[in-house]
């Protein structure tokens, strides 16, 4: 089993390098730094001097991969690839357009992101799995039928409308909580509660339906018939036998997103004015701050790969076939 995990870890390395190369190509090869400068400074009236200055300020004036002018290891290190891409492995993301250190900004913004994303994730999982179990228990009844219809209807509504509708109803019409903003410490609860609620509700449709499909697939298996033939009640069959086996496919989809919770949600954070990583990303996109976007892409991939490894790890807890092989 240890060998299995070590192998998964080793496999992550080439993937990270691949991600790094893809992002580098996207940001520096598709468009040259000159293009970016021209774009940032306004396409029409821009002097070559201004472009050079822009590039020099950001360190984009170096060669892409190999610096012939340099000597020693600097041939490779004094390049855009090394200083902008490879150094991300060391946690050095450079500075944003406003001059702030991206790494520090990220660490300070993780808190608010997590304060929204984590409760949304946990509550959402509990609610949707419970709903799916309920629909499975009452399968082939009217409750099940209308439950599925409701799920399909709910998943046909864009996430934007959930947020807009929720803000309108709860904050504007009923004035229960502030419409947006964020507070520090325990005061944050009244800013957190609405985004979490909306996040949970907007996920109900698709997740419930997905889990229901998994449960129904498990419930048609032979071992479930055996369990029933033992005289076990339907609830015991569902919780002791079906749920445990269904954990394997459920974990595949669930564990992988846990690390990504740090990234927050783009939509929620921007609508509710939460100073997290999601709104940071959106602001960067709107301001065309390439350094920040590049950093977020890299961090996102790292977190995703961590999620993949966690998924593999979680299998060993729920699936004895992996634990003992």
């Amino acid at each position: 089993m240890l060998a299995y995990l070590v192998r998964r870890l080793l496999y992550a390395l080439p993937i990270l390098i691949g991600v790094n190369v893809i992002t580098f190509a996207l940001f520096f090869v598709v468009n040259t730094p000159d293009d970016m400068a021209r774009m940032q400074l306004g396409v029409k009236r821009v002097t070559p001097e201004a472009i050079d200055k822009w590039k020099a300020q950001r360190g984009y004036d170096k060669p892409l991969f190999i610096n012939d002018a340099a000597s020693g290891s600097a041939v490779f290190t004094d390049t855009i690839f090394f200083s902008k891409s490879a150094r991300m492995f060391a946690g050095d993301f450079g500075r944003a357009e406003d001059g702030r250190d991206i790494a520090r900004e990220i660490t300070s913004r993780m808190g608010p992101s997590l304060a929204i994303a984590l409760p949304t994730f946990v509550l959402g999982l509990l609610v949707t799995v419970s709903f799916a179990l309920m629909l499975t228990f009452f399968r082939a009844s009217y409750l099940d039928f209308w439950g599925v219809v409701l799920c399909v209807a709910m998943m046909s509504i864009s996430g934007l409308f959930y947020i807009i509708g929720g803000q309108f109803l709860i904050s504007k019409l009923w004035k229960l909580v502030p419409i947006s903003g964020y507070g520090s410490g325990l005061d944050a609860w009244k800013f957190v509660i609405l985004p979490v609620l909306i996040g949970v509700i907007s996920g109900i449709g698709s997740s419930t339906r997905w889990y229901r499909t998994i449960f129904l697939e498990e419930i048609s298996r032979d071992y479930v018939r055996t369990a029933r033939a033992k005289g076990l009640s339907e609830l015991v069959v569902l919780f002791r036998h079906v749920l445990r086996n269904a954990m394997i496919p459920i974990l595949t989809g669930v564990v992988v997103v846990i690390p990504l919770l740090f990234m927050g949600s783009l939509l929620t954070e921007s609508f509710f004015g939460i100073p997290g990583l999601g709104s940071y990303t959106i602001d960067a996109i709107n301001a065309q701050d390439f350094a920040v976007v590049r950093a977020m892409v890299f961090i996102g991939s790292v977190l995703y790969i961590v999620g993949l490894i966690l998924t593999d790890l979680s299998y060993t807890f729920v699936d004895p076939r992996i634990r003992f092989n």
Partner: protein, 682 residues
């Protein structure tokens, strides 16, 4: 008896008076249907059963006759679409169909327990054996903690699992197939049931394991004085296990008799046909009796006798009126309009017999020291740490017009031999020569002319035909791939001709595989192989997925094709009855090697290797009068990744000596054709 009996009411009534004290289960007029769209299709139509304590009733029937539905219906465990529109199920005096669900759960596992066909999927993969046993103990006996654990240990020991202590903490995937079925039996026994329903309990198992499990079931039944409802399609199993036999056909029981009467004087034409279709020594090489046509579909059951359309004795009344129960002897009753039929219908006597087959001339196929090893990769870098020796030095020779049967249990490597000969799997060593030409090192193009000389027929008629291609395209594929010229006639005519050869209409070419039954699909697969006019056909268990009556049709077809075209067959199978019927020579495989080889008479009549002897003794015989001594093989086949040192068979061999533990025995020739690899003969 001459009075028209009304559903055997008087019969059942008179018996009830004498036996109701021990009567465990009484099923009257049970009907089961499956909802399909807005209509109900009757799968079981008026079944009556009675089982007393300590008695085994065997419910015999071919696939789709409703026997499994009956069993599930008794426990009210039918799938969602299943309905029970009528009937009565009395278990220990209680009407099960009227019980509330909560009480019914007390009956399931407590009063009646069930064992299923597939031990591999019937146990929960993520719960330990102890957990799955403990569940029943807690539910029905209220046992928890230490007493439950002790009882679990007792149960596992009772079903013959060694090292029960350790097994309790293990998961199903850590157990072999036979062991899983033992655990299933232990789970079934845990609630001290009075009635055990066993649905094809050994169909998925090898013959030696089957013998172990059947023996176990017999012993446990005796010890606990349980009633047993044994559902099976295998007459051999019935002969070994049953006290009484009920034959099911198209949702109805058509004949019921005590075992001895059943095997000596079965009266229903369907039952007689079942016996006649069974390959047997007495008719070796001859044609087997077959049942023409197919079971009527659930949606179109005839109003008269359901077997009438396939019955050669049917007369006008059979088609008009459904026959009622008729008692012909004590405990022997049947649903048939025919008053007196000859007691047994024998098959056409052997025409030529196997000895008349053309003598072995120059070898068509010769395989020498064939080896197929699959690497096992482990560790961080996935290095090869060992090999699964699936085939480990197999040598064979096969002449034109002859049949060589390659026999062995699952995992012995027999299918791999077939695929390696066809070059579907790359061999790791040894040589395969067809018509004197080495196949191993040939390039793709150079192999093509030889490809048409050999073809394969697969086991599963549903997986071996592409569902998206028409029958004509399937058959034509080989012709075009191998660029076979069809002189004079067009391709369509050639396809029609080959279809006719396998007994299908030419119009079948335009249809798609899903429109055909299992037996017809196997005919199409044979036609596909024949279309390229091969000399050698490798048949990989071509009949093991088929019902007995259909198996007979396919065996007959293969025999007549051999006679007409001079084909050579390499017949891969685990079924000795088929071997006996069809083969000229036999090779027995164990863990990747051939342990005994010879003509059919030599190997089957005087087996010399202890493994062959054990295998043969484990085959359940249809004859009830001559019980053979069953050589019990301990344990199960070891893994080919890690075969035992010395003779691979020695850990399971009663006659093993010191030499057996040390080195693999060399080949000993007992006669010109009979060789064996065993230290007892060297």
């Amino acid at each position: 008896m001459n009075a028209e009996p009304t559903l055997g009411e008087n019969v059942a009534g008179s018996e009830r008076a004498t036996q109701s004290g021990q009567r465990l289960l009484e099923v009257a007029n049970l009907r089961i249907a499956f909802a399909s769209g807005r209509s109900l299709l009757a799968a079981v139509d008026g079944v009556d059963l009675r089982i007393a304590a300590g008695e085994t009733l065997a419910l015999l029937g071919e696939s789709g006759c409703g026997k499994s539905a009956t069993a599930l219906g008794l426990l009210r465990l039918l799938p969602a679409a299943g309905r029970i529109p009528g009937g009565e199920v009395r278990f220990e005096g209680r009407d099960l169909l009227a019980l509330p669900e909560a009480e019914m759960r007390g009956v399931r596992g407590g009063g009646m327990a069930m064992i299923f066909q597939e031990p591999a999927t019937s146990l929960n993969p993520v719960l330990t054996v102890g957990h799955q046993l403990g569940e029943v103990l807690e539910r029905h006996l209220g046992l928890r903690g230490t007493p439950a654990r002790e009882r679990s240990l007792e149960l596992l020991t009772a079903v013959g699992i060694a090292d029960a202590q350790r097994r309790l903490g293990e998961y199903p995937f850590q157990l072999s197939g036979g062991m899983k079925q033992r655990v299933m039996i232990a789970v079934a026994l845990a609630g001290n049931p009075r009635l055990l329903i066993a649905d094809e309990p050994t169909t998925a198992l090898d013959v030696t394991i089957q013998a172990q499990i059947l023996e176990l079931l017999r012993r446990l039944q005796g010890e606990h004085a349980m009633g047993m409802l044994l559902i099976t399609h295998d007459l051999g199993v019935v002969a070994q296990m049953a006290t009484r036999v009920a034959v099911m056909y198209a949702g109805q029981i058509v004949e019921e008799a005590p075992r001895e009467v059943f095997f000596s004087a079965a009266r229903h034409p369907y039952t007689q046909k079942l016996f006649a279709a069974l390959p047997d020594l007495a008719r070796r090489g001859g044609r087997l009796d077959t049942i023409p046509g197919q079971v009527p579909p659930l949606s179109g059951m005839p109003s008269g006798c359901r077997f009438a359309s396939r019955c050669e004795h049917a007369w006008e009344r059979c088609r008009r009126q459904a026959p009622e129960w008729r008692q012909v002897a004590v405990g022997h009753r049947l649903r048939c309009h025919l008053d007196a039929l000859p007691a047994a219908v024998t098959g056409t006597p052997a025409a030529g017999g196997s000895s008349a087959a053309p003598a072995a001339d120059a070898a068509l196929l010769s395989v020498d020291e064939l080896r197929v090893h699959f690497p096992i990769r482990r560790g961080i870098l996935q290095r090869t740490v060992g090999h699964v020796r699936a085939v480990d030095g197999v040598s064979l020779e096969l002449a034109r017009g002859r049949t060589l049967a390659l026999v062995g249990e699952s995992g012995c490597g027999k299918t791999t031999v077939g695929k390696a000969i066809l070059q579907l799997i790359a061999a790791s060593g040894g040589s395969v020569r067809l018509l004197g030409q080495e196949l191993g090192g040939l390039a793709r193009g150079a192999r093509r002319p030889l490809r048409r000389r050999m073809q394969m027929i697969f086991q599963d008629p549903f997986a071996s035909l592409n569902p998206r291609m028409s029958v004509g395209e399937i058959i034509g594929e080989g012709m075009s791939a191998l660029r076979i010229d069809v002189q004079g006639q067009g391709r369509a005519a050639a396809i029609a001709a080959v279809l006719e050869q396998v007994g299908l209409e030419a119009a079948a070419a335009g249809r798609y595989p899903h429109e055909f039954s299992g037996g017809q699909r196997q005919r199409i697969a044979i036609a596909r192989a024949l279309a390229v006019q091969p000399d050698l056909v490798i048949c990989d268990e071509p009949t093991s997925a088929l019902d007995v009556s259909v198996q007979a049709q396919i065996l007959n077809l293969l025999a007549s094709l051999q006679a007409d075209l001079g084909l050579a067959y390499l017949f891969i199978t685990h079924n000795f009855a088929v071997v006996d019927h069809l083969a000229h020579e036999v090779a027995v495989m164990y863990l990747g090697r051939i342990v005994e080889r010879g003509t059919v008479d030599e190997v089957l009549r005087s087996p010399q290797h202890p493994y062959t002897q054990a295998l043969l003794s484990a085959v359940p015989s249809v004859r009830v009068d001559t019980p053979v001594e069953f050589i019990r093989l301990p344990g199960e086949t070891p893994s080919p990744a890690n075969p035992p040192l010395g003779c691979h068979f020695h850990p399971r061999c009663r006659q093993a000596s010191a030499a057996c533990r040390e080195r693999y025995p060399a080949t000993t020739s007992l006669s010109g054709t009979h060789t064996v690899r065993c230290h007892l003969h060297s």
